[in-house]
């Protein structure tokens, strides 16, 4: 069996799964300290369905802890950014346009040095080891403990980032954490560099939190491996997670969507995840969330993380109904005291759902006085607005089923105008924890290739093979790993028939193959 835990800002959800059968599930308030909450969740699962820790093959954890730390600017390591590319790029030094609050919280220092490559892999200027050494000592004097290295066109040629990292480690010892941009982002220097600096700033926190998690899980008697959910809905082991905390940023909505696919049995569908204040709408294709193609703003910083393409809207179970409109203001977690059906005085979306007979909750007589015309109008409005958002997310003209998950999904009407029926799968309240428990492992390649001297098919084969190897290295079972996504974008204005190729391979976690 496997255990999936999803630690959100408000709730911590956990499930114990045998194959795809839910043996036990719990929902509790998130604790101040992540580890205590997780131990509590494990205990609650055991109380519901007795099992021995030795029966558990793996524990999977999704957490918003790291993105929250960034947004709040707390627990960030003193960070320095080193960019290789001089004389290019000096018009915009690292951390340009960052919110000052964040730069201060990370005690951000910026350095520019020679290096970088052209789009065709030639050097802009050679790396200067002495220059890097000088910068390393300056960083040390400034109290830097984590370093982000970026180099122009490193997604095409990563040698300078790797060499600079070696030089820095030789000078400052292995105690200093180094994050390399080619391992984190894609072409688009500032966005990739930003993501790398954010990752660097979170390295110490990741080390501390993940270290503690492993300890407490062992102390509870679990000897199985622990995995963390990544933005794309696949898993990473704890060693990888310590190095790449940014890869956890969007795991919340992704796990909900993956869980929706599993509990509904639909691989290609729209998912509406209804919370207390907002709903997230996303689209699954072959069981995986579609990725946003645009830049993603994280805590006021532009990045090009791979995030799921999700539209948020201001409708949730706690939305306040006012002046013939639902939301965006919400009673949030006070739903159970402020809503009419729970003895409060505020008309919420949940009260409308009870009055309309969509769900039986609390004291239905408390909403009997609501005008039936108004109730119908509000139910229709929720349906129309959700349907509209789903419409915007569709990627083809084929009919798209809709799956609703999340604690607030009771407020949705039975069907959405112009769309198919809404599926409300079992256990939809803990779909996120199920999504975490069922996750697979992936490997990815995103590079610019020149087709001037090679055939297109040999380049494509190479990219696919590299993605597959990376997936196996990350723990995928060699038996069922396959390439699930493949994109090719010709690049305008570049000579040599340049084309950008992205390939992603995914496979089931080879637990049996992991000797731990």
């Amino acid at each position: 069996m496997r255990i999936g835990i999803d630690v959100g800002g408000t709730n911590t959800d956990a499930v114990a799964l045998e194959g795809r059968t839910v043996l036990a599930s719990v929902k509790q308030t998130t604790s101040e300290d992540v580890t205590t909450g997780i131990v509590q969740a494990l205990k609650s699962l055991k109380a519901q369905h007795d099992f021995a820790p030795a029966d558990v093959e793996a524990i999977m954890l999704g957490t918003t802890h790291f993105i929250n730390a960034l947004v709040e600017g707390r627990d960030l390591a003193p960070t320095a950014a080193l960019r290789l590319g001089l004389p290019a790029t000096a018009s915009l030094p690292p951390m340009v346009g960052w919110p000052e609050r964040l730069t201060t919280a990370a005690r951000g220092k910026s350095y520019l040095a020679h290096g970088g490559h052209e789009f065709d892999g030639q050097e802009i200027s050679p790396l200067r080891p002495d220059e890097i050494r000088g910068i390393a000592h300056d960083m040390e004097a400034a109290g830097t403990r984590s370093i982000a290295i970026s180099s122009v066109f490193s997604p095409i040629n990563d040698e300078f980032e790797e060499s600079a990292a070696e030089i820095i480690r030789a000078e400052l010892g292995s105690g200093v954490a180094v994050s390399l941009s080619h391992e984190i982002g894609r072409v688009g220097l500032l966005e990739r560099e930003n993501a790398t600096i954010i990752n660097a700033a979170l390295r110490e926190l990741a080390d501390k939190i993940i270290g503690r998690l492993v300890e407490v899980i062992h102390a509870e008697g679990y000897s199985c491996p622990l995995f963390l959910s990544q933005n794309d809905g696949t898993l990473m082991d704890v060693e990888y997670a310590r190095k790449y905390p940014v890869a956890t940023f969007a795991s919340g909505p992704t796990n909900s969507m993956r869980g929706a696919a599993i509990t509904s049995g639909l691989e290609t569908c729209a998912v509406v995840d209804v919370g207390g204040t907002t709903s997230d709408v996303g689209v699954l294709t072959n069981g995986f969330p579609r990725e946003a193609t645009t830049v993603v703003d994280v805590a006021g910083v532009r990045t090009n993380f791979r995030m799921p393409d999700v539209l948020s809207m201001g409708i949730g179970g706690g939305s306040i109904v006012h002046d013939g409109y639902v939301g965006p203001a919400s009673v949030g977690y006070r739903l159970t005291s402020d809503a009419l059906v729970f003895g409060g005085a505020t008309v919420t979306a949940t009260d409308i759902a009870v009055a309309a007979g969509l769900v039986d909750l609390g004291d239905a007589s408390a909403v009997a006085h609501l005008d039936s015309g108004m109730v119908k109008a509000m139910v229709d409005q929720i349906g129309t607005r959700v349907a509209d958002t789903v419409e915007r997310m569709r990627t083809s003209s084929a009919p798209l089923p809709v799956v609703a998950v999340g604690g607030g999904s009771v407020i949705l009407p039975k069907a959405l105008p112009g769309l198919a029926e809404i599926h409300l799968p079992q256990n939809s309240g803990v779909a996120n924890a199920i999504g975490a428990a069922i996750a697979q492992v992936s490997g990815e390649v995103d590079k610019v290739y020149s087709l001037a001297t090679r055939s297109r098919s040999s380049v494509i084969d190479e990219a696919k093979a590299e993605a597959t190897e990376k997936a196996i290295a990350a723990g995928a079972s060699a038996e069922n790993v396959e390439v699930v996504e493949f994109d090719e974008f010709p690049i305008p204005y570049l000579p040599g028939n340049a084309t950008r190729i992205r390939a992603k391979a995914v496979g089931d976690l080879g637990i049996k193959e992991m000797a731990r």
């Binding site: 018009s91 915009l92 802009i124 990627t395 010709p490």
Partner: protein, 367 residues
């Protein structure tokens, strides 16, 4: 307000301040007609230069003295490279310096050749770096892909001598027999220099600029951007405000139902299909939007500005951002009338881009 009130009637100076850059860039994206390169990186460069050197003066076209020495500046290259290999600190100054030295002149004004996309912002960065005023006008009133496609070509102004500067410190000055040759040679040099260069071309006197430029286009960008930011704060769409400010007409509104792309001879060519209540509309693009068909009939073409706006916000949608499900309001804004002359159409009409049709204009623009 950034207008400086003066007691006596005379030249009015506007300022370009760092905080104005987001509005300029949002408006430039609209005049980019789907292409023109991402103004964002240009915006950051302009902001950084204006932060460092203080605001730049924006001078009305009519207030430019006849004997002014005007040096336009632009970025040339592949958009993919522009967002990765950013300009050096000296590149703007270097490109102006090398052409000024070659011509033996002292520049008095900086100018913009292309108000759409990234090249609306580059002259602001250069003006700040050099401490020179910028002219509130541009060489075409929109974005086009090749450097001979400016009204100055129609006025007989030569692009060359022009300078091309890379970030490594290399500079080239070209002398050419025609503006089309300037495009060909500059493009080749740019590729060799790493696919992103800063160029200074079409050096002109104030009198020539007044004859060859489209007035007020930079402040127009700012106004369009201000419409968008105002609407964003009031949870509405800037679409109607943008249409009215441009004197444009909406020719279709619907959802993108298909996008097909291919890259041939360096252009991102493609076709997008818009499903509307009145049937299917097709948009043909080559970096910029160039032609629109409804039910097989051509209803709008270059040189008029064919602009896709996000229906919900009124923001520009670039051809790169087109994808299934985007709700688009397709609007057509009249190009400067000079583009509709025989010479203008030869430079940038539909036939130049390989479409076998005379230009078609919405009925509202026909004379």
């Amino acid at each position: 307000m950034s207008t400086v009130a003066t007691d006596t009637p005379g030249p009015q100076t506007l300022m370009v301040r760092p905080e104005d850059c987001p509005d300029f860039a949002a408006g430039a994206a609209i005049l980019g007609t789907g292409g023109g390169g991402d103004p964002h990186i240009g915006m950051l460069m302009a902001q950084a230069a204006l932060d460092k050197h203080g605001p730049a003066d924006l001078v009305k076209l009519e207030d430019v003295p006849d004997d002014a020495v005007v040096l336009p500046i632009a970025m040339m290259g592949a958009p993919t490279v522009m967002v990765e290999k950013l300009a050096s600190a000296e590149q703007f100054v270097e490109s102006i310096r090398s052409i000024a030295k070659y011509l033996g002149v002292e520049p008095t004004h900086i100018a913009c050749m292309e108000a759409g996309g990234v090249n609306s912002m580059i002259p602001m960065a250069a003006a700040a770096e050099l401490g020179l005023p910028l002219i509130d006008a541009d060489g075409m009133g929109r974005a086009f892909p090749e450097l001979q496609m400016v009204l100055a070509t129609l006025c007989g102004v030569q692009a060359a001598p022009m300078s091309i500067s890379d970030e490594k410190g290399n500079s080239i000055v070209l002398e050419t027999v025609s503006n089309k040759w300037a495009e060909r040679l500059a493009r080749t040099a740019t590729v060799e220099m790493g696919c992103s260069t800063i160029v200074s071309l079409y050096a002109m006197t104030g009198a020539q600029v007044k004859n060859a430029f489209v007035p007020g286009t930079l402040s127009l960008c700012r106004e369009l951007g201000a419409c968008i930011s105002y609407s964003r704060h009031h949870a509405g769409s800037a679409k109607d405000a943008v249409i009215s400010r441009l004197g444009a007409v909406q020719i279709a509104e619907g959802k993108i139902s298909d996008v097909e792309r291919r890259t041939t001879s360096g252009f991102a060519r493609g076709r997008a299909e818009l499903t509307t209540a009145e049937g299917t509309v097709e948009i043909e693009f080559q970096n910029e939007n160039l032609l629109v068909r409804r039910g097989g009939d051509v209803v709008a073409t270059t040189p008029d500005l064919i602009i896709g706006l996000d229906t919900d916000t009124g923001e520009a949608v670039t051809t790169e951002q087109l994808r299934f499900g985007t709700r688009i309001s397709l609007i057509v804004s009249p190009a400067d009338e000079r583009w509709h002359s025989a010479g203008g159409l030869e430079l940038a009409g539909p036939r130049y881009f390989g479409y076998d049709t005379d230009p078609v204009r919405p009925v509202e623009f026909r004379r």
